[in-house]
Subunit: 190 residues, 4 copies
Amino acid sequence: MARPRSEDKRNAILAAATEVVAAHGPSAPTARISRAAGVAEGTLFTYFDDKDALLNELYLALKRDVRDTLMAGYPASASLVDRARHVWNRYVDWGASQPAKHRAMAQLAVSDRVTAQCRELGSAMLAEVEALVHGVAWRGEMADQPPAFAAAILMALAETTMGFVQREPDEAERYRRAGFDAFWRAVSKE
Amino acid sequence: MARPRSEDKRNAILAAATEVVAAHGPSAPTARISRAAGVAEGTLFTYFDDKDALLNELYLALKRDVRDTLMAGYPASASLVDRARHVWNRYVDWGASQPAKHRAMAQLAVSDRVTAQCRELGSAMLAEVEALVHGVAWRGEMADQPPAFAAAILMALAETTMGFVQREPDEAERYRRAGFDAFWRAVSKE
Amino acid sequence: MARPRSEDKRNAILAAATEVVAAHGPSAPTARISRAAGVAEGTLFTYFDDKDALLNELYLALKRDVRDTLMAGYPASASLVDRARHVWNRYVDWGASQPAKHRAMAQLAVSDRVTAQCRELGSAMLAEVEALVHGVAWRGEMADQPPAFAAAILMALAETTMGFVQREPDEAERYRRAGFDAFWRAVSKE
Amino acid sequence: MARPRSEDKRNAILAAATEVVAAHGPSAPTARISRAAGVAEGTLFTYFDDKDALLNELYLALKRDVRDTLMAGYPASASLVDRARHVWNRYVDWGASQPAKHRAMAQLAVSDRVTAQCRELGSAMLAEVEALVHGVAWRGEMADQPPAFAAAILMALAETTMGFVQREPDEAERYRRAGFDAFWRAVSKE
DNA sequence: AATGAATGAGAATTCATTCAT
DNA sequence: AATGAATGAATTCTCATTCAT
C-alpha cells in the first residue's frame, strides 16, 4: 500500500490556516497556508477539495475545539452558577490564550465563504452551552426571552472579555471575574 | 490624479462599498463596487487613491455615521439612565435598520487592511459614548474596571441585540428593552 | 469615452489561436496565444469570456471563412459540373494555401470543447455546399443516399487532396484535377 | 522503473486510454486513464515511460489492430474487386463497431504528441493496403497518381462511411455498399 | 510490483491599477 | 473628469511524475 494520508499533515494544514486566516482573513492565499504548514502547494488539495472546503472545515474544527474545551471537566452536578462559571472561564481562557483561533473564528463568522449549513452544524455543536444558559435564564431576568438570546449574551460578553484579557494578561483574573459577574447580573434573578 | 468633482459620486461609491463589503467582505473586487455605484472602474480611483484608502475611509465614514446617529438629539441634561437608553436605542436601531452598514463594519473590524491609525481615529470618535458609560459605571458595579470595559460591554450587547431585532423585526421593541435592561443590570448599581 | 474595443485586436487573437491550435491542439496554453497575438495575457479575456468561448468562436470563424471562400464568385448559373468544380477548387486552395487554418479546423473538429450547438451552427453554414452537391447527386449514382453523404464525400476527398497539394505544391494543379475527377466519377452519373 | 509483469494490465491501460482519449482527447489526465483501467496512478508509469510513450504506443496499437483486422481472412487469390471489397468492409466495420478506437485514432492523428517516427511506423503497417490499392489503380483512373493518393482516398471514404454507419446502424449495409461503389468508380477503370 | 500521497511547475483566470480616448 | 480597455502579477487548482510504504 502507498503512504497513508497523514492525520498529522491534515492538522498541520488546519493549524497553519488558523494562523493565516487570523492574520489576513479568509482571502489569504492558499500558498501561504501550505507554506506555513510546511507542505507543498498541491498537498493542501489532497486533504481539502478546494479552498472553500478548507475554510468550512476549519470553521467546524474551531467550533469543535471550543465545545470540547468548554465541556472538558464540566461539573454536571454542581450548582447553576458554578456550571456557568466553568463554561465562562473555559471560554475566556480559550480565546485569551489562543488569540489566533479566536481571531480566525471571528473572521470566518463574517465570511460568506462559510456556508449556511456549516454554520448550523457549528451552532448545533454549542447546543449544550445554550441548554446550560437556558437553565440560568429560566427563572431569571431573561425568562421572557428565547434562550438563544441569553446564550448570545454569554458569548458576546465572553468575547469582549477575551479581548481585554489578551491585552492585559496580568489582569486576566480580574477581567474574567468582572465579566462573569456582569453576565450573571444581566441574566440571573438576584 | 485629477481633483474629484462630485461629492455625490464619492458618496455613491462609499454607499456601494458598504453593500458590497457587507455581502462579500473587503476582498470583493473594486469593479463590483464601481458597478454598484454606477461609475466606471477607473472613476473609483479618482476619488480614492487605492483600494486600501477606500476601505479605511469607509470604516471612518461608518464610525462617523454611528457617532452622528447616537449623538443626534442627545438629551445632555436628562438622567443617566435616560441618556444611556438614548444611546442604546439609537445604536440598536441604527444597526437593525441598516444591516449592510452593520455588517460592513463587522467585516472591516476584523480586516487587516484597516490600519491601526484608522482604528484609533474610529475609537476616538466614540469617546463621547465612552464618557457617558463612564458616568454610568462610575459608582456602579464596574467602578473597579476601566471605563473602556463597560463601554465595550455596551457595544457588544447592543450588537447582539441588533442581530435579534434584525431577524425578528416584530419583536424589536421587546429585544431592545430586554437588551438595555440586561446592560443596565450588568453595569449599574441597583 | 474610453478606448473602444478593437476589432483588430480580436482578429489578432483569433489569428494567433489559429496558428497555435494548429500546431499544438486545443490544449495549448492561452498564454501562448496571447503572446502570439502580441497582447497581454489578461487581454484575451476581455475579448473572449474564457478559453472555451475562444475555441468555439474560432471554430465558427473558420467555418465562416470557408463558406465565404467557397461562395465568393460562385457561378450560380454555370453548369453543374462547373459549379461543383468551383467549390472544389476553392476549398482545396483554401486548405492548401492556409495549412494552419485547415489543421486548426481538424483539431477543433475532434475536440470535445467545441459544443454540439456550435457544430450545428457550423454545419448550417455549409448548407449551400450541401445543396449544390444535392443537385449533383440528384440524378447521379448517389440518388438513393441522403445528400449529406455525397457532401461528406466531397469534403473528405477535398481534404485528402489538400494534404497532397500541401506536401507537393508543384503538383497542385494535377492533384486538384485528379481529386475532382475522382469525386465526379464517384457521385455523378457518367 | 521495474519490469512490468502483467500483459493484461498493460492492455487494460491501453484499452482505458482508448476510451479516454476518444472522449477527451490526448490532453486527458493520466489519472483518468489509470482510474478507467482499474490501476493506481503510479502503475501506469511502470508500463509506459511517460505519457507521450503511452500515446505513441496507443497509436501504434490501434494501427496494428486495423492492420490485423483488414488482413484477417484476406482472400489473396480472389479478384481485385473482391479483395478491395474485403478490405473496405473490414475497415468500415472496424470503425463502426468500435467508435472509441476510431475516435481515438482521429484524435491522435492530429496530435503533435505522436512523433513523426511513430507516424511512419504506422503508415508502414498499412503498406499492404497500399499495395492492394496500387493494384487497383494500376490500370485504373489513378494510373498517373502515386499509389498513396488512391490509398488515402480509400481510407478517407471509408472513414466518412464509418460515420454514417455509426449514426444509422440499420442502414449499415446500404452505406457500406454505396461507399465502396463510390470508391470503386472513383479509382478503377470502367 | 503496486499503491496513492507528495511535489511543484504550469494553466486559466481574476483584479487593482494605469492610461489612451 | 469620466470611461473602460489594457496590463501582468497573483491566485486557485491541476497534473505528470516520483517515491515512501
